[in-house]
C-alpha cells in the first residue's frame, strides 16, 4: 500500500487547459473522412438540378457510362425501389403536410442542387468529367421563392399533390393577449426578416461507405453518428446491427451536420450495389446549394406596454421557410423560438403562431442557435424600440421588465421554468467593462457636431434554453427521440482510463473537457484519460452533439459513470484494506481509512487488484467499468449581457464595430479557455448574420451566393477585439452546475449589433435596417430617413 500523498493535484475542473485534440485538428493530419482511402475505393459525383422547380422528362446516361474510368451511372429512377425517403423526426402537428423526399429526385426537382443522377468512377476526375455526358430533359415548373406569395390564393405549388404550400400552423397562447394589447398605452408593431444563412462548416460534407459482406461501415462528417445509424437502418431497411457509423474527426457543423442527407443514404446503397467502398466529398459551391440552410423567417411582432415601459403582452406571428422538403428537424426549429420570444422578461400575456411554408429552395434546418437566435433578435430589437419610443435608456427599460435575482425559479409566460440567473450582476459587470456612460457622452458629442461617423450603442440581455433536453418534454413536443446522453468509464489494468461518450464532438473540445471531468472525479492524472467518441461500435449508444447539450447532459452522464466506478472501487478497496466501506474516504485518487491517513490504496492499485482478481470480495465481478445515462429534468438557461459599440459612416454606410463586451453566465465552467473560444466563435457567427451573410435567391429560384466571394464569411480581420467575462450562477438541474455555451454568443450578438446600428442612426429617423446591414442598406436607410432634425427624427436626446 502506498504512502499518502502530501498534496493532491490542482483540480482539473475550472482549469484553462489547452485542448489536447487541437494539434491534429489544426494541422489536418488526422482522420477527416476525405483522408480515408480504403483499397478499391470508387468515387461518386452528383449531377444536380439547375432548376428551382422542374419535371424530369428523361435522363439519358448512356454516353457517360461509356467514358473511361466510369463504373456505373445511376438515376433516381434506377434507385427508386430501394432508396426510400429521407426522414423528418419532428411531426410538429398531427396534420403537418410532410411530402416524400427521395434521396435522388425521380420525377420532379424542387430546388437548385437537388441530386438527379450520379456517376461512380475509379477516380474523382473521371466521375466529375462524366457528368457532362449525362443528359436530362427538364420541363420547367414555376419557382416558388417568396413565403408570403406562396401562401396567397392561387399560388404556384411546390408539391402539387399537397394542395397548399403551408406545411403546418403551430400555436401557443398564454393569457388574454388581445386585452393586453387593446388597452396598452404603447403598442409597437414591427416586421423583422431573419435572412437565410448557410452554415459554412470548415470541413465540407464527406461520406465513405465500406461494405464487408452483409455489413457496412459508413464514415461521415456528421454530428450524429447514432441518430444517423438508426435513420439509415430505417430508410434502407438494412438491419441496424449491420450498420456501423463512424464520425471520424469532423471539422465543424453548426447544426448543418445534424442531418440525414441523401448522399449518406445513397453511399450505403451504392456500396451495396457495387460491392466496393464508395466515397463522395462535396465542393464548397456544391455545399452552399445543398447543405441545409438556417434561419429564414418573417416575423410580425406586436408588443403592448405601459408608459413606464412595463410590458403587458407580446404577439408573435411567424412564417418559417421550410425550403422544398422537411428534413430531420426542419419543422421544429422555429418552434424552439416559441419559448424564447419572451426573453428574460415578465409579461402577462403571450401568443405565438408559426406557419411552416414550402418554397423551391434548399431545405432549412438547425443552424447554431436554431430558433432561439431568431426569437432573441425579435425581443431584443423590440426592447430597444420600446426604449426609443418612451425616451428611456435601453438598459433601464430592460431593468423594469426582467426577472429579478430573487424571483428564481421563475415560470415564464411561455411555460418554461428558469431555474437560476442573475441578470443584474451580468448587466452591471458588462456596463462597467464597456464604459457605457462615457460612450453615451461621446455619442451625444458626435451627434452635436454632426460627425459623419456616428456612434451607436447596442444592448442584448439574452437568455436561451439549452442542454437539450428532458426526454419527457421532447415527447410532449412530438420530437422523435429522447434527450438523454450516455457515458462509460473503463479503468484499465494499469490504472489508465478510457472514457466513452455518446456525445459526438466535431470541434468543441470534448476530449479535453471530458478528460478533465474524469481526472477530477477519479483522482487520476489528466494524461491518463483517453476519450473515445464518434463510432457506434465504440459508443454503442448516444444522442450526439447539438443544442449546447454535450456538457450539461453528456458531461453529467460521465460524472455519474465516474461515481459508479468510484463506488465499486470503494467496495474493493475496503476489502483490501480490511476496513468498512463507510469508514473510507476518497480524495486525490486514494482511498484511506478516515482518521488513519497512512492506511490507504490508490484507485490504480484497486484497478490492478481488480484485474488480477486474486482477492476480490465475494460476488464482485473483476471489472472496474461503468455505464451511465443522464436525462435532465429541465433545460438549462445560460444568459448574459452583450454590449456593442458601432461606428456608422453615414456617407458610405460602412459599419465598423469599435468594441464588444460579452458577459455570459453559463453556470459552472469546466474549461474557461474552451468557453471563451466558444463565445468568440459564436460572436463571429452572430455578427456575421447582422453584417455580412445572406443566402440570396433570384426570382427564378437560383442561389446566387454559391461561392465564398459572394457569401461573405467574416474573418478575424473584420471583427473587433472581444472583451469577454463571466458571472457564475450555477444551473440547478445538474450536479455540475453547468449550462452550455455552444450557441450563446451567436444568439446574443446579432441583435446587439443591429441595435447599435439603429441607435447610431435614430437622429436620421431610422428605425430599422434589414439584415445583413450591408453598407448600401445602411446608406439607403440614412438617405431615406429624413436626416438630423427632420420630421421623422426622434431627436438626438435621450
Amino acid at each position: 500500500m502506498s504512502a499518502p500523498a502530501t498534496e493532491g493535484p490542482a483540480p482539473e475542473i475550472g482549469s484553462p487547459r489547452r485542448r489536447s485534440e487541437d494539434a491534429r485538428l489544426v494541422t489536418g493530419r488526422t482522420r477527416w473522412t476525405d483522408n480515408l482511402q480504403p483499397a478499391g475505393t470508387l468515387h461518386v459525383a452528383y449531377l444536380r438540378s439547375p432548376y428551382a422547380h422542374a419535371a424530369i422528362a428523361r435522363v439519358d446516361a448512356g454516353r457517360a457510362r461509356d467514358r473511361p474510368g466510369v463504373v456505373a451511372v445511376f438515376t433516381g429512377a434506377d434507385l427508386a425501389a430501394e432508396q426510400g425517403g429521407l426522414p423528418c423526426a419532428w411531426p410538429v402537428t398531427e396534420d403537418m403536410k410532410h411530402p416524400d423526399h427521395p434521396p435522388m429526385a425521380v420525377t420532379e426537382v424542387r430546388y437548385v442542387g437537388e441530386p438527379v443522377a450520379c456517376v461512380v468512377a475509379r477516380d474523382r476526375y473521371a466521375a466529375v468529367d462524366a457528368l457532362e455526358d449525362v443528359d436530362v430533359d427538364y420541363t420547367a415548373l414555376p419557382a416558388v421563392v417568396d413565403m408570403e406569395e406562396a401562401l396567397a390564393e392561387g399560388a404556384d405549388l411546390v408539391h402539387a399533390g399537397l394542395g397548399t404550400n403551408r406545411s403546418y400552423t403551430w400555436v401557443y397562447k398564454n393569457g388574454d393577449l388581445d386585452a393586453a394589447i387593446r388597452d396598452a398605452p404603447v403598442v409597437l408593431e414591427r416586421r423583422y426578416v431573419q435572412q437565410r444563412l448557410i452554415p459554412t462548416a470548415m470541413e465540407p460534407r464527406a461520406v465513405l461507405c465500406v461494405p464487408e459482406g452483409d455489413d457496412f461501415t459508413l464514415y461521415s462528417a456528421t454530428q450524429i453518428p447514432h441518430i444517423l445509424r438508426l435513420m439509415l437502418a430505417t430508410v434502407t431497411e438494412i438491419p441496424e446491427h449491420r450498420i456501423r457509423v463512424v464520425a471520424p474527426d469532423v471539422g465543424g457543423g453548426f447544426g448543418s451536420k445534424l442531418q440525414v442527407y441523401g448522399e449518406e443514404v445513397l453511399a450505403l446503397l451504392l456500396a451495396r450495389r457495387l460491392g466496393h467502398p464508395v466515397k463522395w466529398t462535396e465542393s464548397r459551391s456544391e455545399g452552399n446549394m445543398t447543405v441545409h440552410h438556417g434561419r429564414d423567417q418573417i416575423q410580425r411582432l406586436t408588443l403592448g406596454a405601459d408608459r413606464d415601459g412595463r410590458i403587458r403582452g407580446l404577439k408573435v406571428d411567424l412564417l418559417a421557410d421550410m425550403g422544398a422538403y422537411l428534413m430531420l428537424v426542419t419543422p421544429g426549429v422555429p418552434l424552439l423560438g416559441a419559448f424564447m420570444f419572451n426573453g428574460i422578461y415578465k409579461m402577462d400575456a403571450y401568443s405565438f403562431t408559426c406557419s411552416g411554408v414550402f418554397t423551391t429552395k434548399t431545405p432549412t434546418d438547425a443552424y447554431r442557435g436554431a430558433g432561439r437566435p431568431e426569437a432573441t433578435f425579435g425581443i431584443e430589437r423590440l426592447m430597444d424600440e420600446l426604449a426609443a419610443e418612451l425616451g428611456l435608456d435601453p438598459i433601464e427599460v430592460r431593468r423594469r421588465n426582467w426577472i429579478t435575482r430573487d424571483e428564481f425559479p421563475y415560470e415564464t409566460v411561455s411555460g418554461l421554468t428558469y431555474d437560476s440567473g442573475d441578470y443584474e450582476a451580468a448587466t452591471d459587470k458588462a456596463l462597467e467593462l464597456f464604459g457605457y456612460d462615457a460612450l453615451r457622452a461621446e455619442q451625444a458629442e458626435r451627434r452635436g457636431r454632426r460627425d459623419p461617423v456616428q456612434l451607436g450603442l447596442g444592448v442584448s440581455t439574452f437568455t436561451e434554453m439549452c442542454g437539450l433536453a428532458p426526454s419527457r418534454v421532447l415527447g410532449s413536443l412530438a420530437y422523435g427521440a429522447g434527450g438523454w446522453e450516455y457515458a462509460s468509464v473503463r479503468m484499465l489494468p494499469s490504472g489508465k482510463v478510457e472514457v466513452v461518450t455518446g456525445a459526438s464532438a466535431h470541434g468543441q473540445g470534448h476530449e479535453t473537457a471530458w478528460a478533465q471531468i474524469a481526472a477530477d472525479r477519479l483522482g487520476v492524472p489528466f494524461d491518463d484519460v483517453k476519450v473515445l467518441h464518434g463510432d457506434t461500435a465504440v459508443a454503442h449508444k448516444g444522442m450526439d452533439t447539438y443544442g449546447s447539450r454535450s456538457l450539461a447532459v453528456g458531461g453529467m452522464a460521465l460524472y455519474s459513470a465516474c461515481d459508479k466506478v468510484v463506488d465499486k472501487a470503494r467496495t474493493i478497496a475496503a476489502h483490501l484494506l480490511e476496513a468498512a466501506e463507510q469508514d473510507l474516504e476518497f480524495a486525490g485518487g486514494r482511498f484511506s481509512v478516515r482518521g488513519v491517513r497512512d492506511e490507504g490504496t490508490t484507485i490504480q492499485e484497486v484497478a490492478q487488484a481488480t484485474f488480477t482478481a486474486h482477492d476480490l470480495p465475494d460476488g464482485i465481478e473483476p471489472t472496474l467499468d461503468s455505464d451511465a445515462t443522464f436525462d435532465p429534468d429541465n433545460f438549462s438557461f445560460p444568459h448574459g449581457t452583450h454590449l456593442c459599440a458601432a461606428e456608422v459612416d453615414t456617407e458610405t454606410g460602412m459599419v465598423r464595430l469599435r468594441s464588444y463586451v460579452a458577459v455570459d453566465d453559463v453556470g459552472k465552467v469546466v474549461n474557461p479557455m474552451i468557453v471563451e473560444g466558444q463565445v468568440h466563435g459564436g460572436l463571429a457567427q452572430g455578427i456575421a448574420q447582422a453584417l455580412y451573410e445572406e443566402a440570396v435567391y433570384d426570382a427564378e429560384g437560383n442561389l446566387t451566393t454559391t461561392t465564398m466571394a459572394d457569401y461573405l464569411v467574416p474573418s478575424a480581420a473584420d471583427l473587433p477585439e472581444f472583451t469577454t467575462d463571466r458571472t457564475e450562477t450555477p444551473a440547478t438541474s445538474n450536479a455540475l452546475g453547468v449550462k452550455g455555451v455552444g450557441e450563446a454568443g451567436t444568439i446574443a450578438s446579432t441583435p446587439a449589433v443591429v441595435n447599435a446600428i439603429v441607435d447610431a442612426l435614430r437622429p436620421f429617423g431610422v428605425k430599422d435596417v434589414p439584415m445583413p446591414c450591408t453598407p448600401e442598406r445602411v446608406w439607403r436607410a440614412v438617405r431615406d430617413g429624413t436626416g438630423p432634425d427632420g420630421p421623422g427624427s426622434t431627436g438626438g436626446a435621450r
Binding site: 474523382r124 476526375y125 466529375v128 468529367d129 465542393s283 464548397r284 459551391s285 456544391e286 456617407e651 458610405t652 460602412m654 453584417l691 455580412y692 440570396v696 446566387t704 451566393t705 461561392t707 466571394a709 459572394d710 461573405l712 464569411v713 467574416p714 474573418s715 480581420a717 473584420d718 450591408t774 453598407p775 448600401e776 446608406w779 439607403r780
Partner: protein, 285 residues
C-alpha cells in the same frame, strides 16, 4: 471542385514560355501565381487546353531601376512588391494598393503581372497601373511590344494581349518629389474585392494641386480614369471644399455594375465620397 483535363507545360524561360504558348494554340493560358485562374478552373468556368506555367522563371520576378522608371517583372509576387524598396520609394501607390490585395496567403503567391493580365475591373492593380500611366511589356513570336495601360484594359476580364503574347513586365514611371498617393478601397470584408476603389496620386505646389491622377476600380467593365476629377482639381487651391467638389465629379462617364455587393447607383455615390477622401489623403490635408 475538380478542373477539367488540360495539358501542362512548365517553362524555364520567357522565350520557352512564348514558344510553348504559340505551339499550344488559342485555348492555352499562362499560369502565373494561379490565384485567379485556379478558382476558375476548379469551378469549370474556364476550360483551357493547356497551361503554360511561368512560375519558375526567376528572371520575370526582378524589379529594377531604369532611371526614369521602374521595371517590375510580371512574376513579382504581391508580397515582394509591397516590400520592395524601389517600389516603396518610386511607386508608393503600387505598394499601398498591393498591400490591400486579398490576404497574406494570396499575396505570397499572386503576381503583379498576373493581376494585370487577368484584367478584372474589381482588381486593385489595374486602376493603379492606369493612374500611373504604366506601360505593359508583351512578348510573342513576333517580338516585343509596349502597351500603355490606357490601351491595355479592353473589356471585362479582357486585355489587349494577343493569345500568343506573354506579359513580361510593367514599366512604371517614377513619381518625383512632391507627390502624395493614396489607394482608397471600399470592401465589406478584408478578403473581399473592392466594391469601389480609388487610386490617386497628387502633386502639390504652393498649396495648389499641380498634377492629379485618379483612377477608379470596379466602376465599369474596365478600370477608368476619373478625368473630370483631374481636370477640376488641377490648378486649384487644396481645401476640403475643393477636394469634395472634385470628388463630386468622380462618377462622370462611368458605367458601374450592379451586383450582390452594391447597385450601380450606390457605386456612383461611393465613387464621389471615396474620391474626395482619396484626394484628401493624397494631398495630405
Amino acid at each position: 471542385m475538380i478542373p477539367a483535363k488540360f495539358e501542362y507545360v512548365r517553362a524555364a524561360s520567357a522565350g520557352e514560355a512564348v514558344s510553348a504558348l504559340a505551339q499550344a494554340g488559342e485555348d492555352a493560358k499562362i499560369l502565373a501565381g494561379g490565384q485567379s485562374l485556379m478558382p476558375l478552373l476548379r469551378l469549370r468556368l474556364a476550360y483551357p487546353d493547356a497551361l503554360i506555367d511561368v512560375g519558375r522563371i526567376e528572371a520575370l520576378r526582378e524589379i529594377r531601376d531604369e532611371g526614369g522608371a521602374l521595371l517590375i517583372g510580371a512574376m513579382a509576387t504581391h508580397h515582394q512588391v509591397v516590400r520592395d524598396p524601389l517600389v516603396r520609394a518610386h511607386a508608393p501607390l503600387i505598394a499601398a494598393a498591393t498591400a490591400t490585395v486579398a490576404d497574406p496567403a494570396i499575396r505570397h503567391r499572386g503576381t503583379f503581372g498576373g493581376a494585370l493580365a487577368h484584367a478584372d475591373p474589381a482588381g486593385d492593380l489595374p486602376a493603379v497601373a492606369l493612374a500611373l500611366d504604366a506601360v505593359l511589356l508583351a512578348r510573342s513570336p513576333r517580338g516585343e511590344r509596349e502597351i500603355p495601360a490606357a490601351d491595355f484594359f479592353v473589356d471585362w476580364m479582357t486585355s489587349a494581349l494577343d493569345p500568343d503574347e506573354l506579359l513580361t513586365g510593367v514599366r512604371v514611371p517614377k513619381l518625383g518629389p512632391g507627390w502624395g498617393v493614396h489607394y482608397e478601397k471600399f470592401h465589406r470584408t478584408a478578403q473581399a474585392w473592392a466594391i469601389v476603389g480609388v487610386a490617386c496620386a497628387v502633386r502639390r505646389e504652393r498649396g495648389a494641386v499641380e498634377d492629379a491622377r485618379v483612377a477608379l476600380t470596379n466602376m465599369g467593365p474596365v478600370p477608368v480614369r476619373a478625368t473630370a476629377v483631374e481636370r477640376f482639381i488641377e490648378g486649384r487651391t487644396v481645401s476640403s471644399s475643393s477636394l469634395r467638389a472634385a470628388g463630386e465629379r468622380a462618377a462622370e462617364g462611368t458605367s458601374p455594375p450592379t451586383d450582390l455587393h452594391g447597385s450601380a447607383e450606390y457605386r456612383a455615390h461611393l465613387a464621389t465620397v471615396l474620391t474626395a477622401r482619396a484626394l484628401t489623403a493624397a494631398a495630405a490635408v
